[in-house]
């Protein structure tokens, strides 16, 4: 049997899609063929591993509640459209009538739209009149702007003076508060400092006195030691001198004997 056929049979057996007689024959083959059995075992293991991945819970979103689709090619639908358009036109006509909406071409052949009567708005003015109008309006505009500027300047000046006084007062108050605080701090500092100096001096004097006492006792010990040493030297000197005298006396006696 070809490899592909064995693969197909393995898959069929794995998913139990085999006819009963084929299944029996395959199971018999499995008993005899250890390699095939091992292959099936591996496939079953793979299947078991893959089955650990469970489905995600999912539900259809609400917009899948399908809307009723309109049959656009329906005749009744066509009639509906026609009726809707006709009703809209009638509504527009009624509205135009109520608002006295008029459409017209005037004598110059211009297209005009109006609610109510048409009015002849065309008035002719020459170029010099236009210039006058413009210059007058500019002059009045300049005057108005100048007045507004003067008022604004005055306001600004007043505000500046007021704010200057306020600021001066604020700075004075701040400086005074700062000075007071500073003086208070200095007072506290000096008081504390004096106390610390006193304590320091007392400690220093105590330590110095102790030191002097220690020094004096050490000096005394030194002198006593020196004196003792001198005494010892003196005794030794006496002994040596005695020995020398004795030896001299002995020498004198011996020379007399000869």
């Amino acid at each position: 049997m070809k490899t592909e056929e064995w693969q197909a049979k393995l898959m069929d057996y794995l998913y139990d899609e085999m006819a009963p007689h084929e299944k029996l024959a395959f199971e018999q083959e499995l008993k005899e063929n250890s390699a095939l059995k091992e292959e099936l075992r591996l496939l079953e293991n793979d299947q078991s591993t893959l089955s650990k991945w469970e489905d995600e819970p999912a539900s259809a979103p609400p917009f899948f509640q399908v809307y009723q689709k309109s049959e656009s090619k329906n005749k009744a639908n066509g009639l509906k459209w026609f009726m809707a358009v006709a009703a809209s036109i009638i509504l527009l006509m009624v509205a135009a009538r109520l608002t006295e909406f008029n459409v017209n071409y005037n004598a110059d052949g211009k297209f005009q739209l109006a609610f109510g009567h048409f009015e002849n708005t065309a008035t002719e003015i020459n170029a010099s009149q236009v210039e006058d109008l413009i210059s007058k309006s500019l002059a009045s505009y300049d005057e108005k702007m100048e007045e507004e500027r003067a008022l604004e300047r005055q306001d600004l000046k007043n505000q500046l003076i007021a704010s200057q006084d306020n600021q001066k007062q604020l700075v004075n108050n701040y400086v005074k508060a700062l000075e007071d605080k500073h003086a208070q701090l200095m007072q506290v500092y000096w008081t504390e400092n004096t106390k610390q100096q006193q304590v320091y001096m007392q400690n220093l004097l105590t330590d110095f006195a102790g030191y002097m006492e220690e020094q004096r006792s050490e000096d005394l010990n030194y002198i006593i030691a020196k004196l003792e040493l001198m005494e010892t030297d003196k005794e030794l000197f006496k002994l040596e001198t005695g020995e020398i005298i004795n030896s001299l006396a002995n020498n004198t006696e011996n020379s007399r004997a000869y």
Binding site: Y15, E17, Q47
Partner: protein, 204 residues
């Protein structure tokens, strides 16, 4: 069998223009189609989009389905085509979603085992389940499209070999062969990730 008959009735009603029946079909099949697409892409957004497109196509073309008994194969054909089309489009234009780069809010605030569903007996098993799922997703994405399709349809969707052959328009033996190689390939990939049956049993 009864469920199949009920689905056939719904398909007939949907073909007759009953939109409630279409809605019911969507409600019944949405989880299966979504999970197929999710396993195919390993991306919830793409899966939701493919599922949505599948049901829109189903709604638009259900009238053209001749045999109501083949509704299931027909639906899987649509979703498989959509998934393949989306894969091709993605290959043409590579893009990277911010969702994949940045941790989602819920993920940054809570460890994976807390948000994974369904809830497991304890945080450890839940965490291990979540890790195994991630590894399986990764390995499945490394299979070829042909092998991946067959593996998902057979292993997770439980389709018959005959149905898969019909959906993919290939012979049954080809389906079996692809599935066999998909298994062996997955085994190698999982071994590379140090996932073996022994480890899984120990973790269980």
């Amino acid at each position: 069998m009864q469920a199949e008959a009920s689905v056939n009735n719904l398909v007939q009603e949907a073909q007759g223009g009953n939109n409630d029946a279409v809605g019911q079909l969507v409600q019944i099949w949405y989880p299966r189609i979504y999970n197929y697409a999710l396993k195919y892409f390993s991306d919830a957004d793409l899966a939701a989009e493919a599922t949505q497109n599948t049901f829109i196509a189903m709604h638009g073309h259900i009238g053209s389905l001749k045999d109501c008994g083949k509704f299931k194969s027909w639906l899987y054909t649509i979703v498989a085509n959509h998934c393949r089309q989306e894969s091709r489009n993605r290959k043409k234009s590579k893009w990277l979603s911010f969702d994949t780069l940045l941790p989602k809010k819920e993920e940054s605030e809570s460890p994976a085992w807390e948000i994974s569903k369904p809830a497991y007996l304890n945080p450890e098993s839940s965490f291990l389940q979540s890790e195994l799922k991630k590894t399986l997703q990764k390995c499945l994405q490394q299979l070829s499209v042909d092998q991946r399709e067959v593996l998902i349809m057979k292993e997770y969707e439980g389709l018959k070999f005959r149905e898969i052959a019909e959906i993919l328009k290939v012979s049954e033996n080809t389906v079996k062969s692809r599935l066999y190689y998909a298994f062996t390939h997955m085994r190698k990939l999982l071994e590379q990730e140090n996932i073996t049956q022994k480890n899984i049993r120990y973790e269980d």
